[in-house]
Each structure stands twice: as structure tokens, then as C-alpha cells.
Symmetry: C2
Subunit: 304 residues, 2 copies
């Protein structure tokens, strides 16, 4: 199974569910993981203080409101673990939510209010859930002004934490890669263009579409918006990175990953269609028109 | 806001959440809705008895196991209402699950076993949830053989009922249409092809990609796999419809709808890129090379 590089990129961004442990153990585990990581990676170019305020850098486009900037903030710190909404039975994953992720959900473009954030973090049902959430936010230096209004429309995607959003996009990529009927679709859509002359033109169109789609997907895979507990260095111009960051923030990492997942189906279709074009072109070169029709009929029979 | 026709198609397929009512009320509402529909629609071509067994028709490819075929089955009947997994706070939608949907989940390609079905229908946590589910299935003539094994891999998509899967795809389509930065992506990716000669070729490639992507999306919008309480008449050849049905069944309606949602971003990008190509082509026709560079610089400045 060969998933697209984007999905692999996300697989390698450590958003896996934490094992079921107590709050202390999880935090301890999380710290150990951070420490191990910092040993195996090159030292960050920015100091911690610089990183703390870098949400206001042009990369992220949206400056963090002054009420959210605090010297107590440690963005890598675990805020809580959230049970997955889409887990079934025994696979009840828990997703780690960092302080940085909470910060992102409170800032533009989403600007979640306290009750929506409580819902996202699945604290809504607990007694005094709202108050204890405010207190916990206060402790880490994030105080939520009362009467805050959400800025973006609430959709089903709003309820996902980043870890689960990326997991869902990865699973969508898996079904697009393994279950989408690329070959049947290619045979069906190529059927009306089987003549030798038309096929040459069709092949050029397919090649053009392949290149245009590849450029598009390649750009999305270069998005380096902070996600989960990762904070990768940008590789794109601040202008375009800012725009991709907006899309990532509004979908918590689902958007670009899911578009790339869908594009695996498109690319697989294009590859299959090109195979048919090459085969037909070679075959028809040595055949009489009657024989060409026979080939088409054979293909058609196989298709049904 | 102009969503793609596929999303509209799904919007028009009555998968909306039922209001919060008791079981009896919901069933009654559902029946009223079915009756109203049957008045406004042309009479179905198939008799009820014919439709009952039509899961084994070549359209669906997968024959229903004989243990599931029963004279008690009424596919349009409501089996239960399931609270949404991705709803937040006050918007606690309930999704109606019909007997036909339960049948689809128990049949290939998924072949859910009793405990997974219980999880999907959110009965896992209730006392004796498993036994009462079996009894309810038995009453409507669906008896689950013991020791049944699931046939498909469990992913996060498995946990969604069809109503919520389609709702999620619709919301994904909404963010792809309204939040994806098509224009910025078009400006970024068109930048290296701004020369007059190259731009003519680029425009042809973009037009080819647009047509190929449109054909692909158009095919997916013609999928008529039964979904929720709808059972639309197929319009495609049984061969290709069978393949699309497989993909729909494995993703409960999410797959093709989500690919089409992602394709709105691609199509919007292509339209924006074509606008730039047209504009540049017209402009550069009357300009000296120095002036052309000035135009590019201006565009580049705007882009950042």
C-alpha cells in the first residue's frame, strides 16, 4: 500500500493517541517524549521566548490577542487528553491536546468561546465543567474574556481536536488509496476516446491534468502550520504559508490532509487512464480498424 | 455560496437529523414523511417485494446472505435514531437509521459483527446492549450468526452512520468552497509561467486539467447507491455503478461526497489560475518586456 507522501508526513508528526494512563502519568510520558525528541532533532533556531510569541509572526497571520500572551505559557505542555469521538469499542483512543492547540482554537480564525471549547475538549457533561475549564486555562495564563463570541461557523469539523482530525484524514486517505475504483473509472471515462487520433490528444490532456494536480498537491504538502505538538520550520513564502495556515486553523489540520487524500484517488485514476492510453496507442498502431473495435469490445466486456 | 452539485444532491436526499422525540414519535414522524414523499414522487417502478430482494441485483454487486433475506424486512422502516458523534453542545443532532442501512452495514463489503454494529448505533454502553440489539434485529428478520467476523478494516469512518457521514462530507465541502485559498494558490503556482509564450501552453494545460477533473467529478455525482432512506434509480451502467457502490458502502456515503468536496477546491484553483492566465496574456500583448516584469512584480507584492 503506497499512501501519498502527505499522509506519511502526518504519520510521522507524532499525533498518535496516548496510552490510557492517569493525568500525571500522561504528562510525565509527554515530557519524556519531548525530551527524547529534542535530543534526536537539531536544536531549534529560535529561543523558547521567541517561540512563545511567534504566533504573531507573519507566518501565522493572526496575532494572538494580548490577553492570551503570558509569561506562564509553555506551548509544548500537555493541556489534557481527550477521548476520541470516532473511536469504536476497544479502540478508544485518547488524543493529547497541548497548550498551543488550545491557544490556536481560542485565536482567530475560530475564536472558540468557553462553552464550545468545553465541548471540543469533552468537558461539557461534567459537573462544573465550564468553571473548572476556566480555572485550568487561567492557571496556564490563558484567561478568556467573558462574552466572547466565536468567529467562524460551527461545523461537524469544529468538534474534532487536531489529533483526531489528522487521524480521520489519514483514514480517508487509506480508503481512497485502497478502495477507490480507479481502474474501473479510468476504463469508463476513457472509452469514448479510443480512436487512434483522439487518443493522442487524450493522452496529452491526461498528462497535463497529472502535472497540474501534482503541483497542487505538492504545494499542500509543503504546508508547515503548527499542529498537535509539532512546530515545523516553514519552507514556503510567508504570503502563501499564511493562507494555508488559515485553512489549516479553520479545519484543525483536516483540510489540506483530506484534499491530498482525495487527490490520491484522482492521481490513481490518471495513472490508470494513461496506462490504457499507452496500451491502446501501441495496439492500434499495428491493427486494422476492425481489430481495434475488437479490442475495445473486449475491454468493454471486461469492464461490465 | 455555490457548493458543487454533488453536495446539493446530498442536501436534497433527506438525511437531515430527526428532532429529539421519543421512539414512538420518531417512528410516527418518519412514516408521515415517507407517506408525504410517496405522494409527491412518481410511483416506484418496482413492487415492494421486488425491492426487498434487489440488494442481490447486479447494481449492488454483493448479494445479501440468505440468513438476512426475510419476508419480515421493510427496508424503509426506521430501525433507530443515533445521536451524532460530532455534534457540539446544543446542536445534538440525531440521525435516523433505517432497516436498509443496518442491512448494508451487516452485508459485504463491511460485514460488521454484532459488537461493532452496537458501537456504530451507540448501544455499546447500555446494559445488555448487545442482547437487546440482537433481539431487535431478530424481530425485523435480521438474525446475525454467532462468530461473525467483520470483512473490512475498521477506520474512524466505520463509526459514522450514513446520515452523519454525508453531513460531514457536506461540511467539508462548505469549508473547501468558502475557506480554501484558491486565489492565493493560483497566484503562487502560476508565477513561474508568466512569460507570454509559456502562458499560452500553461492555459491549455489548465483547461485540460479542468475538463479531466470535471469528467471525474461528474461521474461521481451520478452514483446512485442507496443511502439513508433513499433508493434512487441507477443512471449508470451496472458495471461502473457496482464499483462506485462498493466505495460508497465501505465509506457509508462519505467517500465520493468527500472527494467531490475536495474537487471544489481544485476547480476553484483552476478557475482562478485561468483568470490570471487570461489577464496576463491580454496585458503582455501590448507591453514591452520591462513592463511585463513590472506587472509580475506588482502581482508578487500583492501576493505577499
Amino acid at each position: 500500500m503506497s499512501l501519498c507522501p502527505f499522509i506519511y508526513f502526518f504519520l510521522s508528526r507524532d499525533l498518535s493517541a496516548a496510552p490510557r494512563t492517569g493525568a500525571w502519568q500522561t504528562t510525565a510520558l509527554f515530557r519524556v517524549r519531548c525530551r527524547t525528541k529534542s535530543l534526536s532533532r537539531p536544536p531549534p533556531a529560535q529561543s523558547r521566548a521567541a517561540r512563545r510569541f511567534s504566533l504573531s509572526s507573519p507566518v501565522l497571520k493572526y496575532p494572538l490577542p494580548s490577553s492570551h500572551r503570558s509569561h506562564f505559557l509553555n506551548e509544548e505542555q500537555l493541556f489534557c487528553s481527550v477521548p476520541g469521538r470516532l473511536s469504536l469499542l476497544s479502540s478508544t483512543s485518547k488524543y493529547k491536546v497541548t497548550v498551543a492547540e488550545v491557544q490556536r482554537r481560542l485565536s482567530p480564525p475560530e475564536c472558540l468561546n468557553a462553552s464550545l471549547l468545553g465541548g471540543v475538549l469533552r468537558r461539557a457533561k461534567s459537573k462544573n465543567g465550564g468553571r473548572s475549564l476556566r480555572e485550568k486555562l487561567d492557571k496556564i495564563g490563558l484567561n478568556l474574556p467573558a462574552g466572547r463570541r466565536k468567529a467562524a461557523n460551527v461545523t461537524l469539523l469544529t468538534s474534532l481536536v487536531e489529533g483526531e482530525a489528522v487521524h480521520l484524514a489519514r483514514d480517508f486517505g487509506y480508503v481512497c488509496e485502497t478502495e477507490f475504483p480507479s481502474k474501473a473509472v479510468a476504463e469508463y471515462l476513457t472509452r469514448p476516446h479510443m480512436g487512434r487520433n483522439e487518443m493522442a490528444n487524450r493522452k496529452n490532456m491526461l498528462l497535463a491534468a497529472k502535472q497540474i494536480c501534482k503541483e497542487f498537491t505538492d504545494l499542500l504538502t509543503q504546508d508547515r502550520t503548527p499542529l498537535g505538538n509539532t512546530r515545523p520550520s516553514p519552507i514556503l513564502d510567508p504570503g502563501i504559508q499564511g493562507c494555508l495556515t488559515h485553512f489549516s486553523l479553520i479545519t484543525h489540520g483536516f483540510g489540506s490532509a483530506a484534499i491530498c487524500a482525495a487527490m490520491t484517488s484522482v492521481q490513481n485514476y490518471l495513472n490508470e487512464a494513461l496506462k490504457i492510453a499507452d496500451k491502446t496507442y501501441m495496439n492500434t498502431g499495428d491493427q486494422s480498424p476492425a481489430e481495434t473495435n475488437k479490442t475495445i469490445d473486449k475491454m468493454d466486456k471486461h469492464r461490465k
